[in-house]
Amino acid sequence: MSLPPAVGDGAPEIELRCSDIPQRLDAPAWSSPFIDIGTDGNVLMRLGQHTRFLIRGGREVIVDEGAAAHMPDVETFLVGAVSGVLLHQRNDLALHASCVAIDDRAVAFVGPSGRGKSTLAAFLAARGFALLTDDVCRIVFQRQHVCVVPGSCRLRLWPDAARALDHAPETLPTGRSGHPKRVLVLPVGSVDPVPLAAVIRLAIDTRLKTPSLSRLSGPASVMPVEDLLYRARLGRRLGRRIPLFQGLTRLAGLVPVFSLTRTGDMADLPGLVGLVASVMTGG
């Protein structure tokens, strides 16, 4: 199984094992068809028939015995949703972002599902940028910089996006069995945290003929917070509302935030390279 570099700071800090897990938690504090949050902050995730995870204390991930036969599914969720929960439990700040880097500077593409974060990151990764992470983007404040900690280099792509990136979808592995999305695994772009040069919020406006980029400023640059944070509500239910707010406002004070509005047509991808580069050099 190809796991990303440890979510922690180097030394293995996450224990991963297989064991029997119950279907649900007793008397959870909050519950949905897919997730139970215990009063102790433990999280049980249910994804598909076979795949269950119990995530405890930001240190322990238990995969249900029955899931062992479906490793691609397990891997897909481990590097995505499970790592997001771990980061919340560890009091880390995670953006809902895919992130690439060039010349030791990172740019994070944030936005809700469906805005094209993974597609854009994959496109840039094929054009000289290094991929740092897909979907879950951990942020640390260290050595006078806001930095991105490298995460998963497995990009989840819809078939049409894969084609737009010159990959025949059927040549790529599927992530989750029975699901059309494909996995593009790229080399790890960095082992060490990379300073974050810009946050780019993605939007789609089908009226546009060409993509448009603008600088955002003030509180509006980070609102609504759900558009930037990874699973803000989940974090809130794990008692993290304040540190997430403080982390986000701190980040926005140090790193420029932009809005990049795309046309919704993947033919606009080539034009984006120049726009992103201008953001990186503009600083």
């Binding site: 598909g48 805005r115 078939p159 699901h179 089908t206």
Partner: protein, 281 residues
């Protein structure tokens, strides 16, 4: 907040949904002006992002069936998290049930639905302008029991898949169910008597109104005003291959100039019973 309920604003596409939402949005702000481009975020369609946030799942990793099964839970979670008593939502789905039999639009948390009906011949013409597609193809799509919005390979951009089905099946699915009180309203009546129609909708959804606000809301969202806004700022809902202004097809009966006799007959053959029920024949 407890006791939150949905007001579903339902229609087959191109049947006046946007206009109705704008009127209601204006009404609820006392008859003020409405930003054309903000309406979808104020009264919108269910999205993957909402499923991510409210159900705590990577919804774009779910199969179409799993998404469908989770729709009732999504609606319940949205209601539980809302801080006002009424949530207005745009719906293009036909009335459907999950594989386990539960209604997707949960009756217990639904105050009511408003179902907008429009002459399908005008829809065929209007829709094809909206998407720049052939009228014949649209007539075929309106007759197709299996069609769904935003569900081609699940790549619906941001919206969750919405089962649509044929036009007449769509109408009947909402009007024949008895779980959610549904007010049927003809788009053509909205055109000829907008204030009275808006008043009926407000009463059905339990929205407190003043006479003056009703009038103001109608004026603020009249086609003249909206056309001016659209020309000035564009209108985000228009898709890239549109050939005409979104509101150009606002009138009724325009199909007589645009459809051939054969095309009109095809529509009547397929949907005639429901058309007669609403006085279109």
């Amino acid at each position: 907040m407890a006791g939150v309920q949905f007001g579903w604003l339902v229609s087959y596409p191109k049947s006046g949904n946007t206009w109705m939402r704008m009127m209601l949005s204006s009404l609820m702000s006392g008859g003020g002006s409405v930003d054309i481009n903000a309406i979808d975020s104020r009264i919108g369609i269910a999205t993957f992002a909402e499923m991510d946030e409210f159900l705590g799942v990577e919804s774009c990793e779910l199969t179409r069936e799993e998404i469908a099964i989770a729709r009732p839970a999504l609606h319940a979670a949205i209601a539980a998290d809302h801080d006002e008593p009424l949530i207005l939502r745009k719906v293009h789905d036909r009335y459907w049930r999950t594989p386990s039999g539960g209604a997707a639009f949960v009756p217990d948390i639904s105050r009511g639905a408003v179902y907008l009906v429009r002459d399908p011949r005008d829809i065929a013409v209007s829709y094809s302008h909206h998407r720049g597609s052939e009228i014949d193809r649209m007539i075929g799509q309106m007759a197709d029991d299996d069609v769904a919005l935003a569900s081609a390979t699940l790549r619906g951009k941001e919206q969750l898949p919405q089962p649509l089905g044929s036009w007449n099946g769509h109408v009947l699915s909402w009007l024949d169910q008895t779980e959610i009180p549904t007010l049927a309203m003809r788009y053509e009546d909205m055109l000829s008597a907008p204030t009275a129609c808006l008043a009926k909708v407000a009463m059905h959804l339990g929205i407190d109104t003043a006479e003056a606000h009703l009038h103001a809301a109608v004026v603020a969202t009249g086609f003249d005003i909206l056309s001016i806004q659209e020309n000035a700022s564009g209108f985000r809902e228009r898709q890239t291959s549109a050939m005409a202004a979104f509101f150009r097809q606002g009138r009724s009966g325009g199909w007589r100039e645009q459809l051939s006799a054969a095309q009109a007959d095809r529509i009547v053959d397929r949907h005639g019973a429901v058309m007669a029920r609403f006085g279109y024949l």
